[in-house]
Amino acid sequence: MSMNIIEASGLGKRYGGTWALRDCTLEVPAGHVAALVGPNGAGKSTLLNLAVGLTAPSAGGVTVLGGRPAGSPAALDGIAFVAQDTPLYKNLSAADMMHLTRNLTRHFDQHYAQTRLDELGIPVKRKTGKLSGGQQAQLALTLALARRPRLLVLDEPVAMLDPIARHDFMATVLAAAGTGVAVLLSSHVLTELERVASYLILLSRGQVRLAGTVSDLLASHRQAGLEELALAYLRENTAGVTK
């Protein structure tokens, strides 16, 4: 069955007089790890917040998981979102976070979450604020995956992590993608996307500059790797704008 994990048409978001995102039209097919790439302030977080329904669009619309309106209960049941800096309740323990999540979601695989945290060596009784950055990120990811989502949305998931934690985190994401979970993640760190992304969306200055499967894009732009492609395109584009 083919369906789009995210579909946007003419999507725009304005804060005051500035467009954080404008004229965004996208169709990301299922079965991909889609990377949202662009410099800081390009509109990545805005697009993700629109996709999970935290923000209402100023223009256009966005649906997820085959036409479900972003932010609707049906959409949220199938999406797990890990926001930037993985905000957890700092004064709650991992066990409390599991209990909270289980209460407020339709599906929660307690056994998976418990097993995974044991494997990671994350103490469930400790307050999340006392865990290391890597452990917090892994906890947030575990909670997200325990919801058995069909789409996992990650906003700058590894920006704050050291290289080892970064590697471990992305390995978990890849493993999940291997079980059929679609992933949409944003990052301004290109190197870590090289291994994982199969679909690329390039944003700059609030607009989509490039979108497509990585293999198609590399073939048509004659670039060796995703990083080179993105850099070349961003340079070219910035030059074009400044001219």
Partner: protein, 339 residues
Amino acid sequence: MTALAGPAPLPWRRMAWVTWRHHRVALAGVATLLGVLAVYLWVAGLQLHHAYAVATACQPASSVACQNMMENFDGSYSSPAQTIVALLHVVPVLIGAFVGAPVLARELETGTFRYAWTLGFGRWRWTLAKLVPLAIVVAAAAGVFSLLFSWYFQPFFAEGSRIPLDPELFGLRGVAFAAWTLAAFATGALAGMLIRRVVPAIAATLAVYAGLVLTTDLYLQQHYARPVVTSQLNVPADAWIMSQWWTRSGTTVSQGTMNQVIQSTFERIAPVVHSRAQKTRVVTVDLPHYLTQHGYTSWTRYQPGSRFWLFQWIEGGWLLALSVLLIATTVWLVRRRAA
């Protein structure tokens, strides 16, 4: 299967543990604050009631010894009572600001709303499921506490040193104390949603609450019912007097003129008594009566003490309506303009 119809919403009770876990520290703070004050009121109240019982048991009541006893009761108990009254006036806003303001402000400040509001419970339902139980709990706690205060203060009303509608006490009794606590909580919740930071939201709550109390005391309370206007000189002892003025043949006499009239009348009718060092005047007639017999009419505009419960329900009612409006606005804002 229709995708748009969507699944049935998750049951409300799923939020019970979440609300408790997030706000149990704040609720424990409220319990401690009210608990400490309640213990004080209970202990002080027992002494107060005992002293008053002893003073009223004194026979004959008009004897000098008994009068002294009553004066001693006033002298030693009214000052601590004043202090506790002043203290209690800030309790509703303390509860409202410290419980109400963080409900949304903390989520928005720390970013955890991005977690909580994408879990599928629904963010406006999440907000309602937090605000309504918390509002009921703080208002109920305040309501029970104000019963204890009314008991504590009873001797002063019995003695007649305080009128039922005494503005200083009105907000601490009946349903008003609970209603003010509820309004402070609702103000805090909305301030938290609008300001999105805990400390500024608490400060804003304190300021808005102070403004609301002042407006009510200065402009609203006395208009809850049309005041009684009388030309009788003997106004009931429990009346809350708004204003008094004199007229002569249908026209109002200004305060300045009246003062002159009183002064000259006084000099005319009160004989001068010469003592060794000074001369004093001895008033042998009741001046107001004298003036009413000589063409002047005294007018008094007042609220009778029997209107206490009417006023309580009016104040409680509009504060409840305001609180519902504030909470509804908060939920509506969460629903439509999350970050």
